[in-house]
Symmetry: C2
Subunit: 363 residues, 2 copies
C-alpha cells in the first residue's frame, strides 16, 4: 500500500503572527481535500496548543479550542478545514489584492480569521470556542461538525455561533429546512389498444401538478429577515411500456420551508397540500432560526455594519440550531467562486473581516 504524500508529510508550522491574507496563503498551500485533512488539522492543533489562554480538544480531524474566562456569554467561531478536489490550482498565487487557489474562498480565508482571532484576542469580552472540522464538502454522514455534535455536544455549547463560510462578509441568518416527498397515484394496467379496461395513473397525476402550479409560497419575516419558501416538483416518473396503460406515477416534490416550521409541521403542510394522494417523506433536514434577537447576535450585527439577509439554502448552521445555538454565516470569501478552478479571495477582505470580529469581541 502506498500512502499519499499528504498522509505522511510532517505538519508545517503555522505562523499566526502573519497577516490574515498571508496566513490564508499558508493554509491554502497545505492540501486538505475532504478525507485528507490530517496534516492541516495537526498544524492547526499545534498552533492552538501554543496559545496558553486556550484549552484544546481533538476528535478525528476536528480541533476545538476554547477560552475559559467565566464570561456571561459564549460564542462559537466555526469553519471547515477541507476543500473540494484540487483543480490544478495549487500552490496559491497572489495577483494584486487577490489570492488564487483551491480553498482560498471556501473557506481557508475564514479559517485564517479564526486563527488570527484565536492568537490575538486573549482576553475577549465573551468566552470563545473555535471549531475547525473536516468533511464539510462531502456526504452528510461524514460531516465533522455532525460527528462533534454526536460525540461531544458539550464542546459546541454556546449562546451564538458564527460559521465563517464565504458570504462576501454579509451576515446570512439561519437557513431554510428542506424536505423531499413522493406523491403517488395508482391505477390498473391494460393494453393501450383497449385502454378503457385500464385506469391511467399518469392522467390521475394532473391535479398534483396543478396544485403545485397554483401553489403560493409563504414569505416569512423572522428577526427582520425575509425567508422565501418553495414547493416544487423535482422529478416525475410513470410508465410501463409504449403499449401499456400505466398503473403507477410518482411525483417527487422538494419543500423548502422557513425556519419557523419544524420538520413535523413541514410534513403536515405537504400532506395537507396533497390531501387525497399517497404522500411518503423520503428525506428532510430542519431549518435554523437566525436568532438575531439574542444580545450577542445584535452586537455582532452592529460590529459587522451589515444588513443581515435570510439564508435560503441549507447549511451547517442548522447543526448548531439543532443543538439550541442560534447561528449565522459570515465570512470573507465569495460564495460564487466556491468550487471553481478560478477560486480566489480578496486579501483586504480577510483583514477587514478579522477587524470586524475583533471589534465585536473586544468592544
Amino acid at each position: 500500500m502506498t500512502r499519499s504524500p499528504a498522509a505522511t508529510a510532517a505538519a508545517p508550522v503555522l505562523d499566526l503572527t502573519l497577516s490574515g491574507g498571508e496566513l490564508t496563503a499558508q493554509l491554502v498551500d497545505v492540501p486538505s481535500v475532504s478525507g485528507d485533512e490530517r496534516v492541516l488539522a495537526d498544524a492547526v492543533e499545534a498552533a492552538l496548543r501554543a496559545l496558553p489562554h486556550l484549552t484544546v480538544d481533538r476528535d478525528g480531524d476536528a480541533v476545538v479550542a476554547r477560552t475559559n474566562l467565566g464570561r456571561a456569554e459564549r460564542i462559537v467561531l466555526a469553519g471547515h478545514l477541507d476543500t473540494v478536489p484540487i483543480a490544478d490550482n495549487l500552490p496559491s498565487r497572489v495577483d494584486g489584492d487577490l489570492l488564487y487557489g483551491c480553498g482560498t474562498s471556501d473557506m481557508k480565508a475564514g479559517v485564517a480569521v479564526q486563527l488570527r482571532i484565536a492568537a490575538t484576542v486573549a482576553d475577549p469580552n465573551r468566552d470563545l470556542t473555535f471549531v475547525f472540522y473536516d468533511c464539510e464538502e462531502v456526504e452528510a454522514p461524514r460531516n465533522g461538525l455532525g460527528r462533534l455534535a454526536r460525540n461531544h455536544p458539550d464542546w459546541l455549547a454556546a449562546d451564538f455561533a458564527v460559521l465563517m463560510e464565504p458570504s462576501n462578509a454579509q451576515v446570512e441568518g439561519g437557513c431554510q429546512g428542506t424536505m423531499r416527498a413522493t406523491v403517488s397515484t395508482g391505477g390498473h394496467r391494460a393494453h393501450s389498444a383497449r385502454s378503457w379496461l385500464g385506469d391511467n395513473a399518469i392522467h390521475k397525476a394532473a391535479p398534483i401538478l396543478q396544485r403545485l402550479a397554483d401553489y403560493t409560497p409563504r414569505l416569512v419575516e423572522i428577526d427582520g429577515l425575509e425567508y422565501h419558501e418553495g414547493l416544487n416538483a423535482v422529478r416525475i416518473e410513470g410508465g410501463v411500456a409504449g403499449n401499456v396503460i400505466p398503473d403507477a406515477c410518482a411525483v417527487t416534490v422538494n419543500f423548502r420551508f422557513a425556519p419557523d416550521r419544524d420538520q413535523a409541521e413541514a410534513e403536515a403542510h405537504v400532506r395537507e397540500v396533497f390531501a387525497g394522494y399517497d404522500v411518503a417523506v423520503t428525506d428532510s433536514a430542519p431549518g435554523a432560526l437566525p436568532g438575531l434577537a439574542h444580545p450577542a447576535a445584535a452586537a455582532f450585527i452592529a460590529a459587522t455594519a451589515t444588513t443581515p439577509q435570510a439564508k435560503f439554502g441549507w447549511t451547517d448552521v442548522a447543526r448548531f440550531s439543532a443543538l439550541g445555538v442560534p447561528a449565522v454565516n459570515y465570512g470573507p470569501g465569495d460564495p460564487n467562486l466556491a468550487h471553481t478552478r478560478e477560486e480566489h479571495c480578496s486579501l483586504s477582505a480577510v483583514t477587514e473581516c478579522e477587524k470586524r470580529i475583533r471589534d465585536w469581541l473586544q468592544g
Copy 2:
C-alpha cells in the same frame, strides 16, 4: 461455428391427408421459433409443390402458392410459420379434444387449415393465394409479410384476405392504427432553494395530463363494426436532481385510432388536442378498414356464421390494407392462450374452421 439442430435437420414430410388436428400436431412438432423457420418452410414448400393445381414461389422463409383459374375474385389465406420461444412445451401432446404445445394456438392450427384447404380444394369458386411467412412474433422490420409486400407486392394482390391468427373462430374486422408522440414542456433550471429564479417544466405539464384525463374518445361504426379509440399517456419523465428546478418534462402519449382516419389525420388530431405544446410524433402505423362491404367478404361472413367484431389491436391485416386488400382475422386458436406455457387448441375447432372455409370456397 456450430449450427443449431433445426438449421441442419432435413425437412419432415407433411401429410396433408391427415385431419386438421393431426396436421396441426405434425406442424407443432417442427420447432420454428422466429428466425429459425427454414426447416418448416422447406416442409411446407415441398408439400405445396406436390399439389399440381398450385404454383409455388418462395422468398427467404416465406412461401406463397396460388391457383390460376381465371376466377373473378382472388382470396388470400395467410398465416405465419414462426412461434415465440419454446417454453418446455414441445413435443405436442393430446388430452381429449385439446392439443397442447408451443404454437398450437398461435398459429399452427391456422396454418393446418390453410394447408388442408390447399390440398382439398383444387377447384375453388375464387382464385386462392396461400401465404406462409416468417418472423411475425418479432420486431416489425423483420416481419416476413412486410418483406413480401416490399419485394413482391404482386404476390399479395387480391380482393380480400383472411389472416388466420387465433380469434376463437370469430371474424375480427380491420384494425385500429397506433401513433406515439412526445408532448413536451420546457423551463429554466435553478437551485430548488431559490425556486423563484427558475421555471418548473413539470408544473407546466399539468394541463397536458388534464386534457388526457378529460379526453372523450370516439366510438366509430364502420361496416357495422364499432371501433373504440383511445388517447393515453404511456410514459412521463422529468427531473434533473433532487435540488434542481427541472427545465424539461416529456409525456409520451399513445393514440389508438379507428381506421377511418389515416396517419396524417391522426397526427393532426393529436396536435389539436395538445395545441400550445411541443408535439413530436415518434412512431406510427396505419389502421386497416374491415372491407366487409366487398361481396367476397359478405360471403365469408355468411359462411362463418359469426357476427364480426372490430379489431382494436394492431395486426398484420394492416399490411394487406396498405396494399389495398381488405383483410380480417379469423382462425381456430384462442388468442388468450397465445405465448403462454399452457398454450393449446381445440382439435374440433380446427376441423370446424376448415369446414367453414371450405364451404365458402366451394359454395
